[in-house]
């Protein structure tokens, strides 16, 4: 049964769900009437036992499941190793998710493991490299990944394109759809002083399929004698209002159904707080869809 205050948008096909984390298992399983979809981390299942894989299949039989990866490093001039693709492919084969996604990031170079998602230089070379890696991944996994824009604390050195232009051209070259992370967009726009609405106007809205929402915090450092601060996307805090505002804007622009995932990696709040954020996302989607129905001259 749908929560009485937040009817699901059956007419648009929009859905809102949550990323699966072990400590959230009980909250998710006991509230599947208010959670439309669940996103699983691919890396959680690469070395999983039969029992863990069976649990994922059981979950999939109760709620639509998407798979999300963090370790391939597709956005690079380097070639993603076949063994890494094979490992993710085995997880996809077993779980059979609705879709799989990866980040527009590089995570290693040669034998150097960065340990997290790094923004590559925004150049034609990395656009072409990403497209080659997406082709390789699609051949092994049997489906093209959705590609996610990432948050970065450093303006990627060696870039000659802005973020929106690089994302747009990369999606085109890779023939891939977008998982648009709105907190990543909010953080980058804040840290590097660009207009996130102008960004939305530059990316192909017909390629936006999924949305991530999350929270973050300010971090400060002294560099060259000056106090500097940046907004860090840490997935440890509640979704801030500007992210819901961006979700309204995306819903007003997107033509196809959107699947929104709330990401929370730690400092887990009460289940009611998570469900409230899911409800807020539904409200934002409805507000945006309603705005899209209003003739432009009436706005």
């Amino acid at each position: 049964m749908t929560h009485p205050m937040t009817p699901r948008a059956a007419d648009t096909g929009d859905r809102v769900g949550l990323s699966w984390r072990g400590p959230l298992a009980a909250a998710i399983l006991s509230n599947l009437d208010r959670i439309d979809v669940v996103e699983l981390m691919a890396e959680d299942f690469i070395d999983a036992s039969r029992a863990q894989l069976g649990s994922a299949r059981l979950l999939r039989s109760n709620v639509p499941v998407m798979l999300h990866g963090v370790s391939l490093g597709l956005a690079s001039v380097g070639t993603v190793a076949a063994r890494r693709l094979d490992r993710v492919a085995r997880v996809v084969d077993v779980i059979a998710p609705e879709s799989w996604s990866e980040h527009l990031a590089f995570v290693r170079a040669g034998d150097i493991e960065i340990g997290h998602l790094a923004a590559p230089p925004r150049t034609m070379a990395t656009i072409e490299g990403t497209a080659r890696n997406v082709d390789r991944a699609a051949a092994v996994l049997g489906a093209r990944p959705l590609l996610e824009n990432i948050a970065t604390l450093v303006d990627p050195p060696g870039s000659d394109l802005d973020e929106a232009g690089w994302v747009r051209e990369t999606l085109s070259a890779a023939d891939a759809d977008l998982l648009l992370d709105l907190h990543n967009l909010h953080a980058n726009a804040t840290n590097f002083d660009f207009d996130p609405i102008a960004y939305l106007d530059q990316i192909p809205m017909d390629r936006v399929r999924q949305i991530h929402i999350a929270g973050g915090r300010w971090v400060t450092l002294t560099v060259d004698g000056l106090a500097e601060r940046r907004l860090l996307d840490d997935h440890l805090h509640d979704v801030p209002d500007p992210v819901y505002g961006l979700l309204v804007e995306v819903a007003a622009r997107a033509s196809g159904p959107l699947t929104v995932i709330l990401e929370r990696d730690g400092r887990f709040p009460l289940t009611s707080t998570l469900l409230k954020q899911i409800d807020q996302a539904r409200d934002a989607l409805r507000e945006g869809r309603a705005r899209a129905l209003v003739p432009a001259e009436a706005v």
Partner: protein
């Protein structure tokens, strides 16, 4: 633009705090010592110095936070075997 060698140098700046300090003190000399050619070094001429420090710190924290789960994964695997 952008080469494997350049990505490798960025990965080192993001993971090696001592190298980053040497780079911030003398960017062009440090980049040359790591084999970057004139073209690649020119891409670093107006680099986001504060951002490099933030990235190095953030990636370091991420790597540190992953060490514990790796240990836990190993122990779980051992438990499954025996």
């Amino acid at each position: 633009m952008s080469t494997l060698r350049f990505e490798r140098f960025l990965a080192r700046l993001y993971t090696d705090a001592e190298l980053l300090q040497r780079f911030l003190a003398d960017p062009m000399h440090t980049a040359a010592r790591h084999g970057l050619d004139d073209s690649e070094r020119s891409w670093l001429s107006d680099v986001d110095r504060a951002g490099l420090v933030f990235a190095n710190e953030s990636f370091g924290r991420k790597r540190a936070s992953r060490r514990q789960p790796l240990l836990r994964r190993f122990l779980n695997n051992m438990r499954r075997r025996f």
